[in-house]
C-alpha cells in the first residue's frame, strides 16, 4: 500500500528537550533554526513506535530499554547523508569567482594550491571543486 509521508508537529519546548538529549548522547547540536530537520526526519520514527507525538518519542528515548538502539538509529537518520555534484551552488560560485582568483594572486610564484574537502563521502564534492579549479585555466 502506498502511504503518504506525514510530518508530525514538533513544539518548541519538546524540540529543545530532544535536541539536548541528542547533544548529550553524541555531541551533535541543532540550533533553533534546525527544528524542521528533526521534525521532518524523525516523524517516521515517531509513527513506527505507534506514538502520536514527539513528547512521547522523547520519553521513549529517555526511558525505553531500546533507547540506545534508537538513539544510534536517529544519529544515522539525522546525519546529512547527501553527496552530489555541484551541491550548494552559492558556495561554489564564491569559490570560483572570489576565492580562486584571490588564490591565483597569492600563489602566483608556486602555482600550487591545496584544498581540503572535509567529510567528502563518495567524492562528488571534491571532484566538483577539481573541475572548477581546472576551469580556472590560470592554474
Amino acid at each position: 500500500m502506498l502511504e503518504r509521508e506525514e510530518i508530525i508537529p514538533l513544539s518548541e519546548d519538546v524540540f529543545r528537550l530532544l535536541r539536548d538529549l541528542i547533544k548529550d548522547y553524541c555531541g551533535m547540536y541543532f540550533d533553533d533554526n534546525s527544528k524542521y530537520i528533526l521534525e521532518k526526519r524523525l516523524s517516521k520514527r515517531v509513527k513506527s513506535h505507534h506514538l502520536n507525538d514527539f513528547r512521547n518519542y522523547y520519553r521513549l528515548l529517555l526511558y525505553d530499554k531500546r533507547r540506545d538502539e534508537e538513539l544510534s538509529f536517529i544519529v544515522d537518520v539525522l546525519t546529512v547523508n547527501e553527496t552530489y555534484f555541484f551541491r550548494e551552488m552559492n558556495q561554489l560560485k564564491a569559490l570560483s569567482e572570489e576565492i580562486l582568483p584571490e588564490l591565483k594572486n597569492t600563489n602566483r610564484e608556486s602555482k600550487k594550491i591545496r584544498i581540503w574537502s572535509a567529510g567528502c563521502s563518495t567524492g562528488e564534492e571534491p571532484y566538483t571543486i577539481a573541475m572548477m579549479v581546472l576551469e580556472q585555466v590560470f592554474f
Binding site: M1, L2, E12, D13, R16, L17, H49, H50, N56, Y58, R59, L60, L62, Y63, D64, K65
Partner: protein, 333 residues
C-alpha cells in the same frame, strides 16, 4: 504516482495497458488507473484480482484501496466490490496479498468480512495480524471490537500494543477489564499502551489501577499514567498527581505539573515550581498558571493577582529566553 490523474486520456491509456502481456505493466496500469479516481475502474481492476501473477494480484488490491480511499463512502457502496471475492483472498498463500486484502476490507468497511478478518488473528505472519488490528479498528462493530479485545492476548507484544491503542482510540465502553489485565504485562510498551487506552476511555473505575502504575519501574509508563489520571480526574487522581510533583525525575515532574491543569485550587501547589532548577518544569508551571491569569473567571481575582505577582518576580530573574517569552505572553494577555 502521486495524486489523481483525472484526465479521461489517462483512464483510456491505463485501461489498455491493464491488458498488456507483461505482468509488470498490468500491475503498474492497475495502480495508475486507481489514481484517476474514476470509479468505472473498479470493474477493470477486479478482473485482475485473479491474474496469474501474484505481483499483479497484490497491485490490484492496492489499486482498489487507492480507488476507494479517493472516492466518497456512498460512492463505494454503489459500486462496491463483492467482499466474498476479497474474503477468499484472506486465505491466500501470499502473506502480502493476505495483509493487503485484510486492510482493504477494513477500508471499505466490510462488516460481513469481520469473522474472516478476525480469524486471521491466527495468521503466522505478524504483518497480517497487524493489518487485522488496523482493519478491525476501521470497521468498529461490536463483533470487530470483540476480535480486537482478543488481539490483546496475542503472543507478540507489538500486536498487543496496537490492539490496546486501537481500543483506546475507538473509545468503546466495556473493554476496560481486558485492558486492565495488560497493566501487569511484562513488556513496558504494552503497559504504556494499556495505560494510555484506559485514559482515553475515561473509565473512573480504573483510577486505582492507574494510581498503582505511578510506581512502575518504567518512567514511560508513569508519565502516561499521570496523563491518563489527569484526563479521568477526581479526588483520588488529583491527590496522586500532587504526590508525583516531588519526583526527582525531571520528565515525571514536568508531566505532573501539566497534569494538574484541569483541577481547581492548584495555584499554591504549582507556584513553587516557578523556581524549579529545570527550565522545562518552570515552563510547565508557567503554562498552567499563565492560563489562569489570562482566563477571566478561571480563579478568584485575589488569587489571580498573587499568581501574576509571582510570574512578574520570575520575569525579573528568568534567564532562559523561551521561559521568559512564555511569561511575557502570559502577563500581556
Amino acid at each position: 504516482m502521486a495524486g489523481k490523474l483525472a484526465s479521461p486520456v489517462f483512464y483510456d491509456v491505463f485501461e489498455r495497458l491493464m491488458k498488456d502481456d507483461d505482468g509488470h505493466v498490468r500491475a503498474l496500469a492497475a495502480l495508475g488507473i486507481s489514481r484517476t479516481g474514476d470509479l468505472r475502474a473498479v470493474e477493470q481492476i477486479k478482473k485482475l484480482l485473479s491474474d496469474e501473477y501474484e505481483d499483479v494480484q497484490e497491485a490490484t488490491v492496492a489499486a482498489l484501496s487507492n480507488l476507494f480511499s479517493s472516492a466518497n463512502p456512498p460512492e463505494c457502496g454503489k459500486v462496491g466490490i463483492s467482499s466474498d471475492e476479497l474474503i477468499k483472498m484472506i486465505g491466500d498463500r501470499n502473506p502480502v496479498l493476505r495483509k493487503n486484502t485484510v486492510l482493504l476490507l477494513g477500508e471499505i468497511g466490510a462488516v460481513k468480512a469481520v469473522p474472516a478478518i478476525g480469524f486471521a488473528l491466527k495468521d503466522d505472519n505478524i504483518k497480517v495480524r497487524h493489518a487485522v488490528v488496523k482493519s478491525l479498528s476501521m470497521i468498529r462493530t461490536d463483533e470487530s471490537i470483540k476480535y480486537l479485545t482478543l488481539a490483546l492476548t496475542d503472543e507478540n507484544a507489538d500486536i498487543r500494543v496496537s490492539a490496546a491503542l486501537s481500543l483506546g482510540f475507538i473509545k468503546r465502553q466495556g473493554v476496560s477489564d481486558s485492558l486492565v489485565l495488560l497493566l501487569t504485562d511484562p513488556d513496558d510498551a504494552v503497559r504504556t499502551a494499556a495505560v494510555k487506552a484506559l485514559g482515553e476511555l475515561d473509565d473512573k473505575t480504573t483510577v486505582h489501577q492507574l494510581v498503582d502504575l505511578l510506581s512502575d519501574h518504567s518512567g514511560f509508563v508513569v508519565t502516561i499514567a499521570i496523563e491518563s489520571l489527569s484526563r479521568i480526574g477526581g479526588e483520588t487522581a488529583r491527590n496522586a498527581l500532587v504526590r508525583m510533583l516531588s519526583s526527582h525525575d525531571k520528565e515525571i515532574r514536568r508531566t505532573a505539573i501539566k497534569s494538574l491543569a484541569p483541577f481547581n485550587d492548584i495555584e499554591n501547589i504549582i507556584l513553587p515550581y516557578l523556581n524549579d532548577p529545570d527550565w522545562a518544569a518552570r515552563m510547565a508551571a508557567v503554562e498552567v498558571l499563565g492560563a489562569r491569569v489570562s482566563a477571566a473567571g478561571a480563579v478568584p481575582a485575589g488569587r489571580q493577582g498573587s499568581v501574576r505577582v509571582e510570574l512578574e518576580k520570575l520575569l525579573d530573574k528568568e534567564e532562559d529566553p523561551v521561559v521568559r517569552k512564555a511569561v511575557e505572553e502570559c502577563l500581556d494577555a
